[in-house]
Amino acid sequence: MNDMNPPSPIPPQIPPSTSLPLGPGQRPPGDDPAEREPIPGVVTAIECILRQPRRVMCQLRQPGSGKLIAAILFVAVVCSLIYGAVVGSFSGGVQWWAAPVKIAAGLLISALICLPSLYIFACLSGSQARLAEIFGFVSGLVMLMTILLIGFAPVAWLFSQSTESLCWMGTLHLLFAMIAMIFGLRFLSGAFAQTNARSQAGLSTWIIIFVLVVLQMTAALRPLVGTSDTFLPTEKKFFVSHWFNCLDQATRDMSRHSRDRSRSRD
């Protein structure tokens, strides 16, 4: 008797995934064999996060990714210390060491403060990522940010040697930090999307929290650019109020300066 239901040559359909759909041209992580190549050292890690971010994302999701995370954090600390020295070069003196220490510590503390909430948001979004993976992604975000800051360092140094305006230098460093953060967060979003998360809403909320924490850290650890009698501020301020005070001071300085000039002309 003939078989009524011959085995179909077509394999059974995989049920549609409820995770975030991959965009056009996007592939699942590790799809390309090159992405499954381990990242052996610090230099490769730097090259990979710039050229092959998906390889870093893929490797961070593997068991035993501790070494890679350690390498990433090492690069982040070194790069932030170097950029900190450039920031400190504006004022010199104590700021040569105070600014690098504050910038490196501030970035790491910001990442650590925000890490638990990112893990919670990831889980609430249905992501299967472990805490170690999330820690790796945040480390990658910080590393990419600091590498980009190193790229901006020569420009920042040139300006810091040619201007005396504290307000201008603060704005410039903030602008560079924001650009670096955009790229870092883009890396994090890419990594997050590959953890089977069903929604990006939690990540978007977390990004707002992270940006606010980093901005507040600039006020909590002030002065980063200028000078002060104490290592940390004695007065607590929210960053918006600190910026307004700086702008107000700069405006008063400028008007006094122009008054002095007009008097000297008379």
Binding site: P29, G30, P33, R36, E37, P38, C58, Q59, R61, Q62, P63, L112, I113, C114, P116, S117, Y119, I120, C123, L124, G126, S127, Q128, A129, R130, I209, V213, Q216, A219, A220, E235, K236, K237, F238
Partner: protein, 239 residues
């Protein structure tokens, strides 16, 4: 050399937060003392950390007191209403045992506490950046902002915890309408007891004019609802 396959999150913690209804329904079906201890541990740790961050602005001793009081409120609410919640569920059409109802409520409270614990470093950072508490603090924008942040975080944790509880009840009962009724009833009784417990356990943020105490002398005088009623009356008489 090719790397090994990606591993997924095997932890019970992640399962709880993701609200994997099938697994959670399985958990509630069997009594497991270790799992119960884990849920209670998460409540103590998570709510305790957030409580510490909340009270820290006033004084470190206040932080310690709130770290004890906050988890205590959650646990007393869960256990104080356990019997009533266990009776309401079958009466409203959800045929689950007393143990299942208690474990379901504890799971949702553990989710709430885990979220609060994750936000504790952020709350602590916020308080660290705030100016010290002065006698006129209540009229400042900083006080209002910090209070608002606490309300938003606690409300977010509560909404997520109850959303996960709803998913679990749907899985246990099979019908959204029944699950909704039971959730509403549980919410009503838990809010009723929880708000009075919170009233008794005040202060949380603390006041610079008053000494740091675990419970105020007037803790057991009056109640939350009387106070709300008097506030409404005074507002009406002002108009």
């Amino acid at each position: 050399m090719q790397a090994q396959a990606t591993i997924s999150n095997p932890g019970a913690f992640g399962t709880l937060l993701r609200g994997e209804a099938n697994t959670l329904a399985g958990w509630s079906a069997h009594f497991d003392s270790r799992r119960l201890a884990t849920h209670i541990g998460v409540i103590i740790l998570g709510a305790g950390l957030y409580g510490a961050a909340m009270g820290w602005w006033r004084e470190p001793l206040q932080a310690l007191f709130v770290a004890i009081k906050f988890p205590l409120i959650l646990l007393l609410t869960a256990f104080g209403n356990a019997l009533l919640n266990g009776m309401l569920a079958p009466l409203l059409g959800l045929n689950i045992s007393f143990r299942q109802s208690l474990l379901a409520v504890l799971m949702s409270f553990a989710i709430i506490a885990a979220i609060l614990g994750a936000f504790a470093p952020l709350a602590a950072f916020l308080v660290w950046n705030a100016p010290p508490m002065t006698p006129d603090v209540k009229s400042t924008a900083t006080y209002g902002f910090i209070k608002l942040v606490h309300v938003v975080v606690i409300a977010f944790a509560g909404v997520v915890g109850n959303a996960r509880l709803f998913q679990l009840l749907v899985r246990l009962g099979g019908r959204r309408q029944v699950a909704g009724r039971v959730l509403f009833a549980w919410l009503a009784v838990n809010l009723f007891l929880g708000s009075q417990l919170t009233w008794i356990a005040r202060p949380f943020i603390g006041s610079p004019q008053l000494p740091v105490v675990f419970l105020r002398d007037t803790a057991f005088q009056g109640n939350f609802y009387e106070n709300v009623f008097h506030t409404i009356l005074s507002l009406l008489s002002m108009n």
